[in-house]
């Protein structure tokens, strides 16, 4: 046995405390044909337990401690309407939307004394986050892509004040000035991009019954928000070693070239180093619309089902995970708001299933 201390303890650690405030209204109108729910919540966490990075020369990368106070505040609205309600036709529509916003209320002085805030890298997706009082959680900090130069090389923004200060690394604190651009990604400054969290998400569904036919459809969606598309970056990467190639996106066909100088995609050049370096170029809208499920059925009139000795007989077709729209085909931002990993997905894509059947009730 070879013992070594793997982590640093913290004698001053204390309880994390969460205070919740919720208020809601449920309502029904027009004989309850339109009903719904509206909720507001305010959740404040004090002494948030958080990973506190320290300079790694200490022999450890950090420890757990109470970093400060944060607040989550949000709204949720659900509406349900029976638009048509007659003997032979019933049409119902339901929808919901929710919104959450985060705010850092207070940080431990040790985390703000150097730069007014602090950065933490997100290990799984390589997106660094910036934390400062008054700012949001999940505030991405990335080099900013500035298009291509006259030779088609990728350009990145530099904050000269940061670049010229030997005591600052390019990711010590976010840049504020866009002083000039560089092809040397390692010199690029990191800029805060704001919260990656979606503005809103929710779902809607509808059901229609008409003369024995029934149709149900359900969707879910997300509005706003951003995701770092590692998978796409991989698919757009040029060849930079003698190793064999990779899978590429067809978008590389639109790369900058002497005949295609208006393109914003850097040239696809062997040995170029920073063609797809981590930057806002791959920070992609996380909005999506998912056609989650649909079913279509027909229930035979009782007179006919009786011929089959059944009290009810319904035939139907139904499907799951039918269609998915996002900023890029193949990008699925549902599993994480921080980013996709380098294979482009964080789990296997949900299986699309389509099945049919006959329901017989005796």
């Amino acid at each position: 046995m070879l013992p070594t201390f793997s982590s640093i303890g913290n004698e001053n650690i204390t309880w994390e405390t969460t205070s919740n405030f919720n208020a809601g209204i449920e309502f029904g109108l027009f004989g309850n044909r339109l009903n719904g729910e509206f909720n507001y919540y305010n959740k404040k966490t004090t002494d948030l337990l958080f990973w506190l990075s320290i300079p790694e020369s200490y022999g450890a990368r950090g420890y757990y401690g109470n970093v400060g106070d944060i607040r989550n505040r949000g709204l949720e609205l659900m509406l349900n309407a029976d638009i048509i309600r007659t003997k032979d036709i019933r049409w119902n529509v339901t929808g919901n939307i929710s919104h959450n916003a985060t705010k850092i209320l207070k940080l431990d002085p040790s985390k703000t004394m150097n730069y007014g805030g602090f950065s933490e890298s997100n290990k799984t997706v390589n997106v660094q986050m910036w934390y400062q009082e008054g700012g949001p959680l999940y505030n991405a900090m990335l080099p900013e892509y500035a298009g291509v130069n006259e030779s088609g090389e990728a350009l990145y923004w530099v904050d000269q004040a940061i670049k010229d200060d030997p005591k600052l690394s390019n990711s010590s604190k976010p840049g504020t000035q866009h002083s000039y651009t560089t092809t040397d990604w390692n010199s690029a400054s990191y800029y805060a991009q704001g919260s990656l969290l979606p503005k809103a998400n929710g779902g809607f569904s509808t059901s229609l019954e008409i003369y024995g036919f029934d149709v149900n459809a359900a969707f879910d969606y997300q509005l706003g928000g951003k995701v770092y598309d590692n998978g796409y970056a991989r698919l757009m990467t040029n060849v930079d070693t003698k190793g064999t190639g990779y899978t590429y996106s067809k978008d590389i066909l639109n790369s900058w070239s002497p005949n295609n100088t208006s393109s914003n995609i850097p040239r696809f050049q062997y040995m170029d180093q920073y063609t797809t370096a981590r930057s806002t170029r791959f920070l992609t809208s996380a909005r999506y619309l998912n056609f989650q499920s649909c079913s279509v059925g027909y229930t035979l009139p009782i007179s006919m089902s009786k011929k089959f000795m059944a009290s009810r007989l319904r035939i139907y077709v139904q499907g799951q995970n039918l269609l998915f729209w996002s900023a890029r085909k193949g990008l699925d931002p549902r599993y994480t708001f921080a980013g996709t990993n380098t294979t482009g997905i964080n789990s296997y894509a949900p299986v699309r299933t389509i099945m049919g059947g006959v329901q017989v009730t005796f």
């Binding site: 790694e56 020369s57 180093q273």
Partner: protein, 558 residues
């Protein structure tokens, strides 16, 4: 509208739950962990922490804790990450993990894992030394408890070794050029987290003072220590560290003195030992002063088919499917120019396959390989079929564990030297010659004749961009490059002597796209600090980001 409002049914008016405190359990001290005091009071624990100092030097996936990275096998891996940055070791083939340090400077900037690897390793090891010093009651150079003297002595010796390495990796300029140049961060057993948040690097002079203070301490505490084997440092190793430190500091008198003291009890390798097909550079002998070893129980051997190990990346002769050097297309070979400057009468030349074999038919080449290896087919396959490279320069200096070339993965359970008496002889010669040239020439010639009976002084004078270095030092340097090839000195010497590198010349075996000649120390040898340091330490002055040359250089004419 009024009607509508009047019909609103306030079915439920809010669910107020003001200040409902939810207290979550905070884990205290991690999962089942113990504190320093608890560990210090456990019976026999001190020796376990001491054993860890050397037991953790290799074999443990210390960087990532998992088998993701082939280069994550400990101290000897840094031999390669450093030395491929110059010219003496060429990481060839299509699947060589050391290629990043050789030519992919984009991934050596502050935001990359490869930049973090040395920082995590070295400062982790240093923390372990600090722990032992604290447990021994030796904080701030206090006298340790009598039964903990040897353990504390080992901790001081190793801490000095790490700091000398770190200074040589991170110093912004060689000591000879600027004695006030910044080196690395000082983290000793008295450092607090608060201090670490704003701390500047030591200057060379401060670093030397710190290193030598540790070594003085180690010398005192280990004066009566008799070690069980070559895998822990003893007094002679402390002398060796002192010799290295004074060499770097250009304190020639002390360098000579300690290099000479370090040699006591050791004898240089014989030709038979040097070229042994069974025991070549894989097990300790009378020449080895300090070493590490890979054991069958090490994660680096047990996991990932043993492929993340020194044996995997350096050895060509294993008879099972596996290994980057042998089978996956990633051997590490010698620079062609260095090889061709070795006279044929120097037996060390037989450590590397002659470039002439590339002109032979397969059958003739395999026949010729028999002089280098008992497994000529395997050596042929490693360079030609598996690496799509060729044969010239393939290294057979380091061998599989004796008699185990076919045994998975015992073949890679080898020892690797960290200090040999030959290095001390060369330090002694260089230091003597810098005080008195004739004395130095004599010592150098005496040493070189062990390897080449027909050695003549003055044949190896390549200046590599710095003609201010004396021809004598260039001659010693050449001996070091040949004698210590693959043992982690190449880049340290380039920086110490303020040399450039030459990879582009007629007949070169360096890669296209990396054939760079520089007239001074290449910027990527001044290692850049990882963001996990600079993002949280506002006091540290960063090194510039490494820059890759734009194009291959014109061929250098020797």
């Amino acid at each position: 509208m009024k009607r509508i409002y009047s019909k609103i049914i306030l079915a439920a008016l809010g669910v107020f739950s003001l200040n409902s405190c939810i207290e979550e359990v905070v884990p205290q001290g991690g999962s089942g962990g113990v504190t320093l005091d608890q560990a210090a009071n456990a019976p026999g624990s001190f020796q376990k922490f001491v054993d860890n100092l050397t037991g953790n030097l290799c074999g443990k996936f210390t960087y990532s804790g998992s088998d993701h990275d082939v280069y994550d096998f400990g101290y000897p891996s840094f031999f390669l990450t450093r030395d491929v940055e110059g010219q003496d070791i060429v990481p060839v083939g299509t699947n060589n993990w050391y290629n990043t340090w050789y030519q992919d400077m984009a991934h050596l900037g502050p935001g990359w894992a490869r930049t973090q690897v040395p920082w995590t390793y070295y400062y982790g090891w240093i923390k372990d030394c600090n722990t032992v010093i604290k447990m021994a009651g030796a904080t701030d150079y206090a006298d340790p408890a009598p039964d903990k003297r040897h353990g504390a002595g080992e901790a001081y010796a190793l801490r000095a070794m790490y700091y000398l390495d770190l200074c040589r990796m991170y110093a912004s300029k060689p000591y000879a050029v600027d004695s006030a140049a910044l080196t690395t961060i000082k983290a000793d057993e008295t450092r607090t987290i608060e201090a670490s948040l704003s701390q500047e690097r030591m200057k060379w002079n401060e670093a030397f003072a710190f290193i030598l203070k540790d070594l003085d301490r180690a010398e005192l505490l280990l004066s009566d220590y008799s070690r069980a084997d070559v895998y822990t440092p003893n007094l002679s190793v402390v002398y060796g560290f002192k010799a290295r430190t004074y060499l770097e500091k250009q304190d020639w008198a002390n360098a000579e003195k300690y290099a000479k003291m370090a040699q006591q009890g050791y004898t240089p390798l014989t030709e038979e030992q040097y070229l042994s097909h069974d025991n070549g550079f894989n097990s300790p002998n009378e020449a080895w002063m300090f070493a590490v070893r890979f054991k069958g129980t090490d994660p680096n051997i047990l996991e990932n088919d043993g492929d993340s190990s020194w044996g995997s990346v350096m050895l060509l002769e294993n008879g099972f499917d596996g290994g980057y050097a042998a089978n996956y297309g990633g051997p590490n070979v010698i620079d062609r120019h260095l090889f061709e400057t070795i006279p044929s009468t120097d037996y060390r030349k037989k450590c590397w396959v002659d470039f002439k074999l590339d002109n032979l038919s397969k059958a003739a080449a395999i026949d010729s390989l028999k002089q280098y290896s008992d497994y000529p087919d395997r050596v042929y396959a490693s360079g030609v079929s598996n690496a799509s490279y060729g044969l010239g320069g393939l290294s057979l200096k380091f061998r599989n564990a004796a008699g185990k070339a076919d045994v998975k993965y015992d073949a890679w359970c080898v020892s690797v030297p960290l200090m040999r008496v030959e290095e001390m002889k060369l330090i002694e010669a260089e230091a003597a010659g810098m005080q008195n040239l004739e004395r130095g020439k004599q010592l150098l010639t005496d040493f070189a004749r062990l390897r080449d009976p027909q050695y003549v002084y003055g044949q190896h004078t390549d200046a590599y961009g710095n003609t201010k270095t004396s021809p004598f030092q260039n001659e010693v340097w050449w001996q070091r490059r040949v004698e210590l090839w693959g043992e982690g000195f190449a880049t340290f010497d380039i920086k110490r002597l303020n040399k450039g590198i030459i990879r582009s010349y007629a007949n070169t075996n360096h890669h296209e796209g990396a054939r760079w000649n520089t007239s001074e120390v290449p910027n990527w040898m001044v290692w850049c600090f990882v963001g996990t340091e600079t993002n949280y330490n506002s006091g540290i002055t960063s090194n510039p980001d490494p820059q890759k040359p734009n194009a291959d250089s014109d061929e250098y004419k020797w």
